[in-house]
């Protein structure tokens, strides 16, 4: 079976959704195509196809290590989308459903892209497809968030195109034939022109780092996650950022082959620590629980970046963290969506006592918050432990200490906001608003499933997953 189906199937779904006449039944297309995509991905995961070295697209070990979790997250979010869009039945959802499916197809293409240009085109297309989703609520605040997302995201993709040009020129200058697949670039290795390689690395890291949300290019994140529907936030935090991480990892492998791996690792480490620090400080200040999730996402992108700087063992740990972060963050976003809808406001100044009004969502939210702050036995604890062990093994004592310090600060910030909205007696206005929101199985099961998956990942990490992560790390750091 061809990995192209992973791209074609959701895109076909997007076309069908765009043509589907009925606003009420259209959301069911989301779980239908999500399930189909998940089955296909799982099939490929178990029986990985052979990828031709010069192929532009392929289900290679790196795609195999991350694409399943994106597909899984999408499936659960899609299941949540059906009751969510039923609650929002007053709004036309044609664009929303079609673009979500298109994003799934484009993400599948982006994770599998083995060509510099193709990778850029898919990330660009994902960025553009996200814009109307952020604007779904149609409020002035949503417009403001969309505008900032366009400005920062647009500059980010412009920089990554420039970086791609520079890497292309490095190859041309080194006598390359104009073949820009990552395989060809890596095999060109040391003959790549070094000044151009370094410029390309800086620009690509800034560009894809903006997409991923690494500080100081993270400024779009709190606004976008705060104003977009939770389901969009979950997919942005768990899927779109992942494609940017795989882009950075693939580029990092080329830089490493050119002999500048040390510089690349140092920049990744510094930018990762800086992201964690910025996120932790903002977490101590924010009063909005959806923006809190965005800063938490910035923090975890920092952990991914630190892991990526630590060689093969660190990359494997990072890929593990992609899984645990995506699943746990998904649970948090979806339960936060329930809380937000019931409370009528995202600010801890106005919201109190949610454990009395929406006990199930509040319980999931609190448990998810502990899971994301690395409470054993949830997934994030084990993946962060693996990152820390990789850091200590490579002799980064100071960096490890800073990482742990930031985690502690973030824990204070997260618990402050979470218990601020969950505890206490609800205000009369909140109480009234919450009566219109019923905690049906449709809105409770999806975040619960994601939380259970995070627990499963921590307790019984399957050997096949560990093997997939190490295989991806081996692809990026080939032993001579």
């Amino acid at each position: 079976m061809s990995p192209l189906f992973l791209i074609i199937v959701p895109l076909a779904g997007a076309l069908i959704a765009a043509a589907w006449p009925n606003n009420r039944t259209r959301p069911w297309l989301l779980p239908a195509f999500g399930l189909l995509h998940f089955v296909l991905t799982f099939w490929l995961f178990v029986r990985p196809p052979v990828v031709a070295p010069g192929a532009w697209l392929g289900f290679d070990p790196l795609a195999r290590a991350v694409l399943p979790v994106v597909s899984l997250l999408f499936l659960v979010c899609a299941a949540y989308g059906v009751p969510y869009l039923r609650i929002r039945s007053g709004r036309p959802n044609r664009v929303f459903v079609a673009l979500l499916l298109a994003i799934l197809g484009l993400l599948s293409a982006g994770h599998q892209a083995r060509h510099l240009g193709l990778l850029w085109i898919t990330t660009e297309a994902v960025t553009l497809a996200t814009v109307p989703l952020l604007h779904f609520n149609g409020t002035p605040r949503a417009f403001e968030a969309t505008w900032k997302y366009l400005l920062v995201g647009g500059t980010g993709i412009a920089l990554s195109l420039l970086g791609s040009f520079c890497l292309g020129y490095a190859s041309l200058h080194g006598g390359g034939s104009g073949d820009l697949t990552f395989t060809a670039l890596t095999s060109q290795g040391a003959s790549l022109s070094h000044p151009w390689v370094l410029i390309a690395w800086v620009l690509l890291l800034a560009g894809y780092g903006a997409k991923m949300g690494l500080a100081p290019m993270h400024t779009w994140k709190p606004d976008a996650y705060g104003e977009a529907p939770s389901i969009v936030g979950a997919i942005l935090a768990g899927g779109v950022t992942t494609v940017a991480l795989t882009a950075i990892l693939r580029v990092r492998a080329v830089i490493g082959a050119a002999g500048e791996g040390f510089v690349a690792d140092r920049t990744l480490l510094v930018i990762g620590l800086f992201s964690m620090l910025v996120a932790a400080l903002f977490l101590l200040g924010t009063r909005d629980f959806k923006r809190m999730l965005a800063y938490s996402s910035v923090e975890h992108m920092g952990i991914l970046s630190i892991g990526a700087s630590l060689g093969a063992a660190g990359v494997a740990a990072s890929l593990f963290h992609v899984w645990s972060n995506s699943l746990t963050k998904g649970a948090l976003f979806l339960s936060a969506g329930n809380l937000r809808r019931a409370a009528g406001s995202p600010s801890m100044d106005e919201v109190r006592g949610m454990s009395m009004l929406t006990p199930r969502s509040a319980a999931i939210f609190v448990t998810g918050m502990f899971a994301i702050t690395a409470l054993p036995p949830f997934g994030p604890f084990f993946s962060e432990l693996q990152v820390v062990r990789a850091a200590l093994a490579s002799g980064h004592g100071v960096a490890t200490a800073m990482l742990l310090g930031c985690l502690l600060l973030a824990f204070f910030g997260l618990t402050r906001v979470t218990f601020g909205i969950v505890d206490g007696r609800p205000r009369p206005a909140t109480r009234e608003n919450a009566q219109r929101f019923v905690e049906t199985a449709g809105v409770i099961a999806p975040p619960l499933v994601l939380l259970a998956l995070s627990l499963w990942l921590g307790l019984f990490t399957p050997a096949i997953l560990r093997e997939a992560w190490s295989a991806a790390a081996a692809q990026l750091f080939p032993t001579p």
Binding site: L116, G117, W120, I121, E124, A125, T127, L128, V131, H135, G138, T139, P140, R141, F143, E144, A145, T146, W147, K148, L150, L151, G154, T155, I157, A158, L161, L162, S164, F165, C166, G168, Y169, L172, H173, G176, S177, G178, L180, S193, P195, W196, I199, P222, D223, G226, E227, F282, G285, T286, R291
Partner: protein, 215 residues
């Protein structure tokens, strides 16, 4: 390659950058940008004059149509729809912007000398032109308050990237062509402004008023 004519065109584009930095009214800024788009569109034709193929012609036509006609047209429509005042509100004044831009153009020539270039590119002004356009774009992006002038800044930044991409037109035309997608981004920006106008969410399109979301 006809490097004399090419350098002349790049010189024109760099001059237009300075004009853009100095212009105080939106319609003239839009006119300058659309002229720069046409100039940029001519360049690939000159570079491969001896071996013209349909892909280069298509790239040139798409560039001229996108940067020279469609986007300026959309911007004018957005301006009409939103009843935006024609004056620009600079954060960075016009004279400082001009000085920065001129200094940047000189620095760009210096930086370009320091970078290793292939012999066939060493005599062209592509790299200095690219760097100075990108700098101009950033100055406009940061230094102007109105949403439309920020879009213009982004477009000039993108023109700089396009100039750089022309270095690769012989070896990897596909990568250069994919840069057209950036124009699509700009289109989305502008459509965003128009859509917003229809919804009447904002009254001035002054990005300084977009300050609800912050810590």
């Amino acid at each position: 390659m006809n490097s004399g004519t090419l350098n002349l065109l790049i010189g024109v584009a760099m001059g237009l950058n300075l004009l853009a930095l100095g212009s105080s009214r939106l319609p003239s800024l839009i006119r300058i940008m659309s002229l720069q788009g046409v100039v940029l569109g001519l360049m690939p034709l000159i570079m491969v004059l001896e071996a013209l193929d349909w892909r280069v012609v298509a790239l040139a036509l798409a560039t001229m149509a996108g940067k020279g006609v469609v986007i300026p047209g959309l911007l004018r429509r957005a301006m009409r729809a939103a009843h935006i005042e024609r004056e620009m509100d600079p954060f960075i004044g016009f004279v400082p912007s001009l000085l920065l831009g001129a200094g940047g153009a000189i620095a760009a020539v210096g930086v370009a000398r320091a970078l290793p270039l292939l012999p066939e590119h060493a005599e062209t002004l592509l790299l200095p032109g690219a760097i100075s356009s990108m700098l101009t774009g950033f100055i406009l992006l940061i230094g102007r308050a109105k949403a439309i002038s920020q879009v213009c800044g982004f477009l000039i930044l993108e023109n700089g990237i396009y100039l750089f991409g022309l270095l690769l037109i012989h070896s990897t035309p596909l990568l250069v062509e994919s840069g057209i997608l950036l124009d699509v981004t700009v289109g989305v920006f502008v459509i965003g402004i128009i859509v917003d106008r229809i919804q009447r969410a904002f009254d001035s399109l002054d990005t300084r008023k977009l300050t609800t979301l912050r810590e």
